[in-house]
């Protein structure tokens, strides 16, 4: 999400520091999600910024690292929201697992700085919402597919649109590397 993260990845700084930065970004996005998400709310729908971060990490660091960050970020989200603890952790772990399949070592810039990133975010978001709404429905006893069609798809689309900004952050880096 930040160009200098890639500089960290190239070995100029340690991997550890990269993970610290990811963690800080996750914390900042969690707070932003709790405090300012209403400013970008459209018709009651909000994008999942943390999901974009999870996909970014999975595509940058691979499936294995992505899994841990997906789990951790999901858990963080569960704690800052009123959701049942574990629901977002589960959904975002699955997201990291799916996004990890699109990881190509040494070609992170091309993956994230292209439409492939948007497709990955959209697919990951769909799976995320299928899982998340499953637990949501369990509590509210609403019609699952109606809710998923009305909100799940819309949220996935909105999240994908927001991920364009993340993709644009990577494009200059991709051009330099060429």
């Amino acid at each position: 999400m930040f160009p200098y993260l890639d500089q960290l990845n190239t070995g100029k700084k340690s991997k550890g520091l990269t993970y610290v930065v990811y963690t800080l970004v996750a914390l900042i996005l969690s707070l932003a999600n709790a405090l300012f998400i209403e400013f970008i709310e459209i018709g009651g729908l909000t994008p999942d910024l943390l999901l974009i971060l999870v996909v970014w990490i999975a595509l940058s660091e691979g499936q294995f690292v992505g899994l841990f960050f997906g789990f951790g970020i999901g858990l963080l989200f569960d704690m800052t929201s009123h959701d049942v603890i574990g629901t977002n952790a589960l959904a975002k772990t699955v997201v990291a697992f799916i996004a990890g399949y699109f990881y190509k070592e040494g070609k992170q810039d091309q993956t994230i700085g292209s439409v492939r990133f948007l497709i990955t975010v959209f697919l990951a978001s769909l799976f995320h919402n299928i899982i998340y709404f499953f637990f949501y429905i369990k509590v509210s006893e609403m019609d699952y597919w109606a809710l998923f069609t009305e909100y799940g798809l819309a949220i996935s689309l909105y999240t994908t649109i927001m991920s364009i900004f993340a993709m644009l952050l990577m494009i200059p880096r991709r051009e330099i590397n060429r």
Binding site: L31, E41, F64, G74, M79, T80, I85, T93
Partner: protein, 283 residues
């Protein structure tokens, strides 16, 4: 052992994924939203505090939707108030009518005014009751407040009322307080006129005027109106008395048809006498 390690390294992603899923499911199965203890309570408390701290930042989108919601609520409440006010007025009017119906000397048929007509100083009303309900020509019509007119024609389901606001109508009337008799007529003004009241008689503003015992067209003692003005008519022996009618032609909506038919024997006798007078004049 090495094979196990190799297996774990080879499938580390799947093993990690499966392990994390198990942990997540365990957390979900243990999770209880209603119990906010430990770290979660601290985090939620902190986030809540921060949300409160940033609440001053205006959100145009939220304000707009809130404004729209408030306006819609305002509109609904305004419509509700109008309906309630209308119901209140209607309730009051119906209560008065029920009370009147209980006290009426004559059997009455309630009817609704479905049409009004004004042609050359002749105001008529159309009622939604007719011959089927027993309404016939000659019956008097009134509201709970006072005299409204007389049925001049009726069909099976409708009746036509000649209102007291009619230049041809003459009503034999009396002042309730003193019993002084006069003739009520309408000359197109806001008020009715009480004629034939000598200047020497006791007449006061506020006196109530009723139909008199001498009328055969309308039942006796039906209120007509209240005296509003008493004027001296220079060169005349009579007052010019103005009566504010109890019935307002423009707002009348519900009426009672009084099952009062003038005595035909009496009418016949008067008619006979009038014909004799005309015959004498011709001679």
């Amino acid at each position: 052992m090495q094979r196990i390690i190799n297996f774990i390294v080879k499938f580390k992603e799947y093993i990690t994924f499966a392990s994390l899923i198990v942990i997540c499911l365990a957390l979900i199965s243990m999770g209880d939203v209603s119990k906010l203890g430990g770290y979660r309570a601290v985090i939620i408390g902190t986030v809540g505090w921060m949300q409160e701290a940033f609440a001053w930042i205006p959100n145009p989108g939220a304000l707009k939707s809130e404004n729209r919601a408030v306006r819609e609520l305002n509109l609904r409440q305004s419509a509700e108030i109008t309906r309630m006010r209308h119901a209140l007025i209607e309730n009051k009017r119906l209560r008065q009518m029920i009370e009147f119906k209980d006290d009426a000397d004559y059997e009455v048929i309630s009817a609704e005014v479905v049409g009004k007509n004004s042609v050359e100083m002749r105001n008529t009303l159309t009622l939604n009751r007719g011959k089927i309900e027993g309404i016939t020509e000659g019956m008097s019509v009134r509201t709970d407040a006072g005299l409204a007119g007389q049925i001049v024609s009726s069909s099976d389901n409708y009746s036509l009322v000649e209102s007291i606001f009619n230049r041809n109508v003459r009503i034999s009337a009396k002042i309730q307080r003193t019993g002084i008799d006069g003739i009520v007529a309408w000359e197109g003004d806001e008020y009715l006129l009480l004629k034939n009241i000598p200047t020497s008689f006791d007449v006061q503003i506020g006196d109530v005027v009723l139909t008199s015992n001498f009328t055969n067209k309308y039942p006796k003692n039906v209120p007509i109106g209240v005296i509003k003005q008493i004027k001296d008519d220079p060169g005349s022996l009579f007052f010019k008395v103005e009566i504010e009618p109890y019935v307002n032609f423009s707002t009348i909506e519900q009426v009672f048809v009084m099952k009062y038919i003038p005595d035909e024997e009496r009418l016949e006798l008067i008619k006979e006498f009038e014909e004799k007078l005309i015959a004498r004049k011709k001679k």
